[in-house]
């Protein structure tokens, strides 16, 4: 049944969604995403959110702390899946919100929204564990291919998952990329999803093996050339939840508190109001147990012990 409100309700409880329903959700999401440009336009007020990484319960906290989808627009800067134990639910919840409120949610592709990465970092395994086959993973990967590469708020704040690319220095150039593909190992599309800001003089090799390191000079050039005030990105763990760099020309927003259930960091979202003021909201990870003492985070402890 495609009653989105019901699906959203069961996703919020972390319940199983039938394969067929996931298929429909993915198909319809593609339809919406197809209409969006590589750099999609977003109006203020809007809340910018960083990496989620399958931490469904923290994603719910995020919505709660920042007003909810009824009250404000959201941009998610990618990396919805992998690492956490609820990648599928987190991603589907975002998709459902997108389908239910197409004008309120903008999803941007992160470096984890690819077949290769999800295969290694948890999403694939999670789907196979939950469904016994990889079909759902395939459906989701198709959706990944349609995700926008960036967003621009009121033509003054550029949002991207990773950072800048030496190949493309203007937003308009980015708009020309043919994005409907698996993220390549090099080139502008790859750089946008993989690059990191760093105190470097010029473009430098990234220790990640993909993308580049870029410094204040590159950021300033980009800001001036595109008449943009701020680059908002995610991609890197920030213990304080957010970190402004280069005299406020770039900000890293991180929205996965206690990353990987062990990093002990707080998370943040960045709210941009109509006057383009920045307002950060900090939040912490949910308790590892719910009110009746059941672990929210699954353990590896074998349940078969019960029988032994």
């Amino acid at each position: 049944m495609m009653d989105l409100d019901k699906i959203i309700a069961s996703l919020r409880e972390g319940k199983h969604i039938p394969e067929e329903t996931v298929f429909r959700l993915c198909l319809n999401s593609q339809e919406l995403l197809m209409n969006e440009g590589n750099v999609t336009q977003v109006d203020t007020p809007v809340t910018i959110c960083g990496d989620i990484h399958g931490q469904l319960h923290d994603l719910l906290t995020l919505f709660e702390k920042s007003g909810g989808v009824e009250k404000t627009r959201y941009i998610f800067l990618g990396d919805f899946v992998d690492r956490g134990f609820y990648s599928l639910e987190s991603f589907l919840l975002l998709l459902c919100y997108k389908l239910r409120y197409p004008d309120r949610i903008t999803l941007i592709r992160g470096n984890h929204e690819t077949r290769q990465i999800t295969k290694v970092y948890g999403f694939y395994d999670e789907v196979v564990r939950k469904y016994g086959n990889s079909n759902v993973w395939r459906y989701c990967c198709e959706v990944f291919d349609y995700l926008s590469l960036g967003a621009i708020i009121n033509n003054t704040i550029f949002c991207v998952h990773g950072g800048l690319s030496p190949d493309m220095t203007t937003v308009d150039e980015i708009r020309t990329i043919d994005r409907k593909q698996e993220v390549p190992h090099e080139g502008a599309m790859c750089d946008l999803l993989w690059s990191d800001p760093e105190d470097v003089d010029t473009w430098s090799l990234s220790p990640r093996g993909a993308g580049f390191l870029f410094g204040k000079r590159e950021v300033d050039q980009f800001l001036e050339k595109n008449n943009v005030e701020l680059i908002a990105r995610a991609h890197q763990l920030v213990m304080e939840g957010y970190k402004e760099m280069f005299d406020g020309g770039l900000v890293t927003v991180w929205s996965a508190p206690n990353y990987c259930y062990r990093c002990g960091n707080v998370a943040a979202v960045l709210k941009i109001d109509d006057e383009l003021n920045r307002e950060y909201t900090i939040f912490e990870a949910v308790q590892a147990q719910n009110e009746v003492g059941n672990a929210i985070i699954p353990t590896k402890k074998s349940q078969m012990d019960y029988f032994l």
């Binding site: 209409n35 109006d43 295969k119 078969m304």
Partner: protein, 451 residues
């Protein structure tokens, strides 16, 4: 229109001019009663809604036009485009867009979301909602499940159960459950002796796949297959699936032993029939995925040895009556891409109620299925007799290996039960995959020795 009337309308009907549309939107948005939309139908709702979007909202509600802002004209054009789009793609097709709920919400009370001078943002939002092609009705019908058979409902019911230990399996009728009785007895005996299996193995991530592959071999025995179905369908969402795989893997060794004896008994006849239905499903998938799987043949497998042990035992039973070749279990490397063009229809349909694991393990299953004596039944069902003659050579080899008793037994059941192998096209593929050794193995009885 006089200003007093406008005020009236504003007070009473959120600025919506059509009383019918107002009542409807009020019900849908405020009361959350979506059935109203279905009952009214697109013919009744959409014309008024389109008029509301293109006329009332820009001219009477937002103030942009009155202020003579320069961008107002282009906004009107965009709204008119949306109106035309809705008319052409949905009203003419007698359907709603699947985003109709959001469109209703935006149109019912634009000022809940936007300031009175933010017509542009409103148009942006409405464009995002309207420019779709899928219809809402489609969802109701295909997703509604109402006209579907109880079977699917039952399964959904099971999925929503917290505790499924004592649920009746919906697709289980009396016949099939009586067939299962001897097998259940077997399981019980195995379970009682096999309690001390090693839990630690589970921590090894690689093990999961390995065990599943082992499990798949079990499917050749037909009865295990049924058990697999139970496991998947009954599994609670919170339940750790790995245990099942593991259990099957361990259990199989014992089953195999017992089956050595059971094979001689009459139960095998019934079992073979059971195999046919299920195996046929694999075959379709095997063919589909064939090309894709070729890429993975070379991959190494950490669990190879374990699998070989299990496999070896299974083979021992059958070695007497079929040729085989030595192939090792292969497993996908984590970095390998699985990017074949999947079928765009969801596979969760009635006939696919076999365990999903089978799909995943087609890659190993292909070999097993081909070798399995029961799969020859499928070949005869799916391929023509002409095919058989083309494979005389193999047949001869295979028959040499069979003992007379079994052969005659099988022939008496169905006289076309001769081909031990697959269709020629598939054979080509096999050769491509397995290389020269494959040919050696199927043509020479000695090929078996290489194992």
């Amino acid at each position: 229109m006089s200003s007093t009337m406008l005020d009236d309308v504003d007070d009473n009907m959120m600025g919506i001019k059509s009383a019918g549309l107002y009542t409807l939107l009020n019900n849908v948005v405020k009361e959350g009663d979506k059935t109203q939309l279905v009952m009214a139908g697109p013919e009744e709702v959409l014309p008024d809604l389109i008029r509301h979007i293109t006329d009332t909202i820009p001219f009477d509600l937002f103030i942009n036009l009155n202020n003579g802002l320069s961008d107002a004209r282009s906004l009107i054009t965009r709204l008119n485009c949306l109106g035309k789009f809705l008319n052409d793609n949905f009203l003419q097709q007698h359907v709603f867009p699947f985003t109709i709920l959001r469109i209703c919400e935006l149109c019912y009370d634009p000022f809940k979301y936007y300031k009175i001078n933010e017509l542009e943002k409103f148009v942006n939002a409405l464009e995002k909602c309207c420019l779709v092609t899928s219809s809402w009705q489609e969802h109701e019908n295909t997703g509604g499940r109402k006209e579907n058979d109880d079977n699917e409902d039952d399964i959904n019911l099971i999925k929503n159960q917290e505790d499924v230990s004592l649920m009746k399996v919906p697709w289980m009728n009396k016949d099939s459950s009586s067939e299962l009785t001897p097998f259940i007895r077997e399981i019980d005996s195995i379970m009682s002796v096999n309690l001390g299996y090693d839990d630690e193995e589970e921590d090894d991530e690689d093990n999961e796949d390995g065990e599943e592959e082992g499990y798949f071999d079990g499917n050749e025995n037909g009865e295990l297959d049924n058990k697999g179905k139970c496991n998947v369908l009954l599994k609670d969402e919170n339940f750790m699936v790995e245990e099942y795989y593991e259990e099957d893997g361990d259990v199989k060794d014992d089953i195999v032993d017992e089956k050595k004896q059971d094979r001689r008994t009459a139960t095998i006849v019934g079992d073979d029939d059971g195999d046919d239905d299920d195996d046929e499903d694999y075959r379709e998938d095997n063919v589909d995925e064939g090309d894709e799987d070729d890429d993975h043949m070379g991959s190494t497998d950490d669990d190879e040895e374990d699998d070989e042990d299990v496999r070896g035992e299974v083979r021992n039973i059958k070695a007497g009556r079929r040729d085989e070749k030595d192939e090792t279990a292969r497993k996908r490397k984590p970095r390998e891409l699985d990017n074949f063009e999947y079928d765009h229809s969801p596979s969760f349909t009635g006939m696919d109620l076999t365990t999903p694991k089978k799909y995943k393990h087609n890659t190993t299953g292909r070999f097993s299925v081909i070798e399995s004596p029961s799969s020859s039944l499928i070949n005869t069902m799916t391929s023509s007799h002409a095919l058989l003659s083309s494979q005389e050579e193999e047949k001869g080899d295979a028959q040499e290996l069979r003992n007379g008793e079994e052969l005659s037994d099988r022939l008496s059941q169905e006289d076309e039960l001769v081909s031990p192998s697959m269709s020629s096209s598939q054979e080509d593929k096999m050769v491509a995959i397995a290389g020269i050794s494959y040919h050696e193995n199927i043509t020479s009885p000695l090929g078996k020795k290489s194992r």
